[in-house]
Amino acid sequence: MGERATSHSVTVEVNGEKVSRIVAARQLLVHFLRDTLGLTGTHIGCDTGNCGACSVIVDGKLVKSCMILAPQVDGAKIETVESLAQDGALSPLQESFHEHHALQCGYCTPGMLMSATYLLRQNPEPSDEEIRRGIRGNVCRCTGYVNIVEAIREASRGQATGRRSVHAAAGEEV
């Protein structure tokens, strides 16, 4: 990308699917995901890089998508919360969040799930301290974090039962 311009062509692989779009240089990655691609699972909380609700994984690195410009991710592989469930079945981590009541309002959950996904890839058996350190960039105003830490700990131990969620069991879209 040699030319300076206010808009750029960007090709990325989002959740395994290759997409190309023309983006404004000033567009934040979180807006590219939500508004341009319609992937509204990624939430905007503070829009200042503090709350972590917009966390996604770009080329294997956990980042806050409100702190990155869309043209910066050209050529990258992006994973959002939509990548976690497969064919309507929650991932073990999502199952564990469900079982341990690790969310109340759910607003922070997409970011928490992506931070926990990244953490467990780096460190498959984290201590509670390591879990808390891993989600330090994610703010939750409901739970007090205890159930989130439990959910991540149990998921890391493979102790989520692997039951399909109640929604999936009932044949609903999840």
Partner: protein
């Protein structure tokens, strides 16, 4: 949030980046963006063109220098510093301070160069780099120059960088024999900005009983990290004991006028500067005696 209209360019080389930076006063290098993007959101700075240097391989490596020091590219992230075997082997403290900056997301993007070039007085790395006698390697279209870290930080959000100049790497000399580094930081809450900080590097004499040389750098007592020359003079030749260090650090920050705000008065910060200095020096002594070449305590 919608940013002001801005151009973006991703040059293929440092040379190309320098051309663009030299050709336009409104050009700004974009590295990790973890401060710059917020600056753009708040529209407190007007930028014509963002020059994305984050993918330039030349700026992203950590290299062991011939003398045993480190050459750290400006775009090396905090996470890369934390995980670098080279950094941990010779300058453990630098990796440890980087490991405690903010959170994983920010450590994955934020860079050592950005941390320094922003020159935010609350940033962690500047006092550490001053204590380690680091040298900032600057390059422009017309040449290169080396600026000691102690002379690089000029004030609130101000550095020695001239228009068109880019920080390309930071050279950290090898730790002298029998040396260790320490760092202590005081914040009122885990996520709060630090009230006062101290970074120290201590070299012990051959017997290990007295202090042969030291660097004691305070942060947040002034606009930029400052060496406390008086305290360094008192530490020289002092016994490497808790009591001797306490005495040597008793005058730390005297005569300085740290800012006062809702989190602490100027006097409180002055007093706490003595405590942080004492702890940083004590850790540096312990590190010099132990296997680690630096240790840390306190929050970020």
């Amino acid at each position: 949030m919608l940013l002001e209209q801005v151009e973006y360019v991703r040059p293929e080389s440092v040379g190309d980046a320098l051309e663009i930076l030299a050709s336009d006063d409104g050009a700004a290098p974009l590295a990790g963006g973890q401060s710059l993007v917020n600056v753009l959101k708040n529209r407190v700075a007007s930028v014509d063109v963002l020059v994305d240097i984050s993918r330039l391989a030349e700026l992203s490596s950590i290299v062991r220098t011939a003398d045993g020091g480190l050459s750290i590219g400006a775009c090396v992230t905090y996470d890369a510093l934390d995980r670098s075997p080279e950094v941990r082997e010779s300058h453990w403290l630098l990796g440890d301070v980087a490991a405690h900056i903010e959170d994983q997301q920010i450590r994955n993007k934020g860079t050592i160069g950005g941390n320094c070039c922003l020159s935010d007085p609350t940033n962690n790395l500047p006092p550490v780099l001053v204590a380690l006698d680091a040298v900032m390697e600057l390059r422009s279209r017309t040449g290169e120059r080396s600026v000691p870290a102690a002379d690089f930080f000029k004030g609130y959000f101000a550095t020695a960088l001239e228009p068109g100049e880019l920080l390309v790497s930071i050279t950290v000399p090898p730790m002298p024999e029998r040396s260790g580094a320490g760092y202590a930081s005081l914040a009122v809450a885990a996520d709060a900005k630090a009230l006062v900080r101290a970074a120290a590097r201590v070299t012990l004499d051959e017997g290990g009983a007295t202090i042969a040389d030291s660097r004691l750098v305070l942060a947040r007592v002034a606009h930029v990290p400052v060496r406390d020359a008086d305290a360094e003079a008192r530490l020289k030749g002092a016994d490497a004991t808790e009591e001797a260090v306490r005495v040597a650090c008793s005058g730390v920050a005297d005569g300085m006028q740290p800012i006062a705000d809702v989190h602490g008065t100027s006097e409180y910060r002055r007093q706490m500067a003595k405590v942080m200095a004492r702890r940083a020096v004590a850790q540096a002594i312990a590190a010099a005696r132990g296997s680690r070449n630096g240790s840390t305590a306190g929050g970020k």
